[in-house]
Symmetry: C2
Subunit: 264 residues, 2 copies
């Protein structure tokens, strides 16, 4: 009998991704295990992209990079990772334009490609829920709403653009506790970068997110805004590389690391 995906370990989810019988979103799966945003680029652009992550650690918290170009493993994140097959769903980009989705990239893979794994908000959402804080996008069963802001990322080579944020509304007392908890997780976006008035960071209407879906705001809610792992995809759009690959949002690489290990 096969275990339900909700109770699987990281390596079990990856094994199922490899046989392409698992192509779903990974939110709420393999509880306790770190999930990652993925960006894959030719080596010529890798140093600039790594600088972009180092310069913008809140939207792009770098957890692991390929040991050398062409290496499909990420041993820091899991013993048997093959980055060509272990993500449930991939996005392929040409000249900064999304051109397709795939369940694996075995046939696309090139010897000079480098994979980057970035921290993901699923880790801190788990810590907030453990503290009894309601995460609205989870209780409403939708993707978290994400917005393009007027905040400039620091540029590196062809990579730049505006920061994308995710928004989670909650009562003020929970907001204070969420800031305290997330401050202990700098490698998964850390504390929010803004709270309160969305116009102050260039967001016109919370009901119309640029990515994900809107959530309900209640009378006593304060909106909290976190730097978001979609930011590097926006940087890829503006970089217009001949080719690049990312995960499909919500369809993350599930690792063998535990969220508890990320707490500082």
């Amino acid at each position: 009998m096969v275990a339900a995906a909700e109770r699987m370990a990281g390596h079990e989810i990856r094994a199922r991704c490899r046989t392409a019988d698992f192509t779903q979103q990974t939110s709420g799966l393999a509880p306790g295990y770190v999930q990652c945003n993925i960006v894959i680029l030719p080596a010529d652009d890798a140093a600039h992209f790594e600088s972009f992550c180092t310069l913008n650690p809140k939207p792009c918290p770098l957890l692991a990079v390929s040991n050398r170009p062409g290496d499909v493993s990420l041993p820091k994140l899991g013993v048997d990772i093959d980055i060509r097959t272990d993500v449930p769903q991939y996005r392929v980009w040409h000249e900064g334009v999304l051109t397709g989705q795939r369940h694996d990239i075995v046939e696309l893979w090139q010897d000079d490609w480098v994979a980057f794994a970035l921290g993901c908000s699923f880790s801190f959402e788990e810590a907030l829920i453990a503290a009894g804080i309601e995460i609205r996008n989870i209780s409403e069963g939708v993707n978290v709403p994400m917005y393009r802001t007027n905040i400039d990322c620091k540029s590196a080579g062809p990579f730049g653009g505006k920061m994308v944020v995710s928004m989670r509304p909650m009562p003020a007392a929970d907001a204070i506790e969420a800031i305290q908890i997330c401050s202990g997780y700098p490698s998964v976006h850390g504390a929010p970068i803004h709270l309160g008035d969305p116009h102050a960071i260039g967001i016109a209407d919370l009901a119309q997110p640029d990515f994900g879906e809107p959530v309900t705001l209640r009378a006593n809610d304060v909106p909290l805004f976190w730097a978001c792992g979609v930011t590097p995809q926006v940087a890829l759009e503006s970089a217009r590389l001949p080719i690049a690959v990312t995960h499909e949002p919500g369809h993350m690489l599930v690792t063998d690391l535990k969220n508890a290990e990320l707490a500082s």
Copy 2:
């Protein structure tokens, strides 16, 4: 030549209080040294008041108590403290009503009195300023605005009543950093207890504080509300003890402890 009070150590301020040539406010004096709110009560009510502090640690963070009734020293806070003389200005209360101010309480002191020293926001204000955060009441040269809320304290014996909060407005990014910094100082009120909408905690108008003076709120400011050391004075009013003594707000006991020692 006598050193300017701004550069004095805790014991030097206390020495000047003792000769009654220093009766000023202590905000900004003896930088780096912990200052305390003071409550002095007959022993019969001391156990209840200590319970009140333990039950309400955010408004009433207890730093030290007399070793025994009648003992005028507080050795945990300074080697030579005489609590009858070392506060710049005292308030005397009868039946919960403020009946007078004094520079010392040598003639009032009774053998069954117990002194309580509680943490004060001056400690965390210093840490915020060191991080480059503007504290509006300091930059505008006024006492911090304080408000009675609709938040019930937990009662102990005759002590109860609503929590008093102090309010400091600042831009959202500073508010997030202030929450992070103050979380490291639980013994001086810790993190704010509320942010944003004042009505949510029963405050009708920020321009009309119940204690202290109003400060300017700018367009992008978020008001942050901290549990306040005036709360025990409100609890004293409702307890209507035959006699009690406190410090005059802003005229604190300056100790030999360093603020840095309070950081957790």
